[in-house]
Amino acid sequence: MNFFGKAFLDAFNLIFRFDAELYFVVWTSIKISMTSVFLASILCIPLAVVFSARKFPGKSFLQSLLNTLMAMPTVVVGLFLFGILSRQGPLGGWGLLYTQTAMVMGQFILIFPIILNLAIAAANTADPRIKTTSIALGASKTQQVLLFMKEVRFAMMAAIVAGFGRAIGEVGVAMMLGGNIEGYTRTMTTAIALETSKGEFEFALALGMLLLLVAFLVNSILERFQKLHK
């Protein structure tokens, strides 16, 4: 059977065999990406709203810096944190290298500039009249913020989704900081890298398809969630 045919068949088998080990790997991927996205989002979104609303010196420089950081290679983030978390590093005593916690930290750094940048763009799209209108209608400070968030929620969601996509699809941080430990820090992407190195190309590609399917499901759920709140 040809390469792609076998890969599709493998992917199909993978999904419907309900192999506990595989589902654990999938779950690890989702859990770690979700955690880093959650932590990055709760920091980035308020920051973005403030950043967008205020004028301050160095704002455009910060904006360019953020744009640059979006291009950070995952392996560089991995190496940077490796140097810090390795036993010889400044935070080596914490013993965090090769743990899920280290992976969350790495992905957090990786997606922080992405979510922040897109969230700023989202905040910028808001109609400036929202503020004046809501004040004119006698809204309190909290009500103003809520109204503002309601206005930009779709664009904010797009920022979160972009962060999730980057987190679940990256391999550099997961490999360097997690160590691809079976039954603990093995994610879909590090499993793909491992299977590729073993020459199990079809199986690796099947895992890739599974990853896309998972990303699709997560995004569908988010979209459904958005529609509910329309």
């Binding site: 955690t35 932590l39 036993r87 969350v104 691809n180 430990i181 491992l194 190195s197």
Partner: protein, 277 residues
């Protein structure tokens, strides 16, 4: 600093819904193994058996010998297994590790295209074979990653009196499986450990062209990270693991292990290159 750590861990663990790792950390052993022991599957079988017998959990990270010894030197693991005798001796001599013991051995083989344009097949020694590849400028894919295999390659080039340079020499910088696949795709020669070769054999057009020279001997050793340098090293668990895989049960597993019906490793090793089973 302590409180920052606590806060950080609390937040991440709370969101991850994780049982904090530091609670049961005493029964967790961290080991670094080489890519060849992973891709051949032997490490997995050994570790599974160890966990079943002792209840001690193992976290395994997979690196080339150079990186494995480096991460062990930094104290990120408790035990390291490698197949790069020179690097291992430095590791012990400099006091980064203690108690180096032989685990198992197999050998390297030279693989290449079936028509064998460099005539490697009829070489008298591995060094002669390497010399022929260089002389005829047939393509050779090198690991180029300071792995045990790469160090052996370099030794063979030295013995052949060649410094590998030119378009024919392809320094890949990748693991054994990737290098085999590359060599296979472009019809090049390469040096490969027998375990990985057996695991890949069925999907390769490359064939085994040369084997059997003493110099191709490939011993694996296990070492414990020096607890004087890294006090957090789980020395007791590390010793238990070492006793297990160098002991009767572990050696039996290695001896019984088969890839596609062929024995991939021989248990034990004798120092100074004298081969026995």
């Amino acid at each position: 600093m302590k409180s920052i750590k606590l806060l950080l861990l609390l937040v991440i663990h709370a969101v991850l819904l994780l049982p904090p790792t530091f609670v049961s950390a005493d029964e967790l052993l961290r080991i670094a193994i080489t890519t060849t022991t992973e891709s051949s599957g032997i490490a997995r079988v050994l570790n599974k058996s160890f966990t079943e017998q002792t209840g001690i959990r193992i976290h395994t990270v997979i690196h080339g010998s150079g990186q494995a010894l480096r991460t062990a030197k930094d104290g990120n693991v408790d035990v390291v297994m490698a197949h790069a005798p020179e690097l291992e001796k430095t590791f012990i001599d400099k006091g980064w590790g203690i108690e180096r013991k032989p685990v198992m051995q197999n050998d390297f083989v030279i693989v290449g295209p079936i028509d064998d344009p460099a005539d490697v097949k009829n070489s008298k020694s591995a060094a002669v074979a390497f010399g022929r590849i260089a002389e005829s400028e047939q393509r050779f894919v090198s690991r180029n990653d300071i792995s045990g295999t790469h160090i052996k390659e370099n030794l063979l080039w030295r013995l052949a009196g060649v410094s590998p340079e030119g378009n024919w020499y392809i320094p890949a910088g990748a693991g054994m499986g990737k290098v085999l696949t590359m060599a296979d795709n472009i019809g090049a020669y390469t040096l490969c450990d027998r375990g990985t070769y057996l695991a890949f054999k069925n999907r390769l057009a490359l064939v085994l062209l040369y084997e059997g020279d003493e110099i191709l001997y490939n011993p694996y050793h296990i070492m414990i990270v020096n607890p004087d340098k890294h006090p957090h090293t789980k020395i007791n668990l590390a010793r238990k693991y070492m006793q297990f895989i160098t002991g009767e049960k572990g050696q039996q597993i290695i001896s019984d292990y088969r890839i596609n019906g062929k024995r991939a490793f021989n248990p034990g090793v004798i120092e100074d290159g004298n081969r026995t089973n």
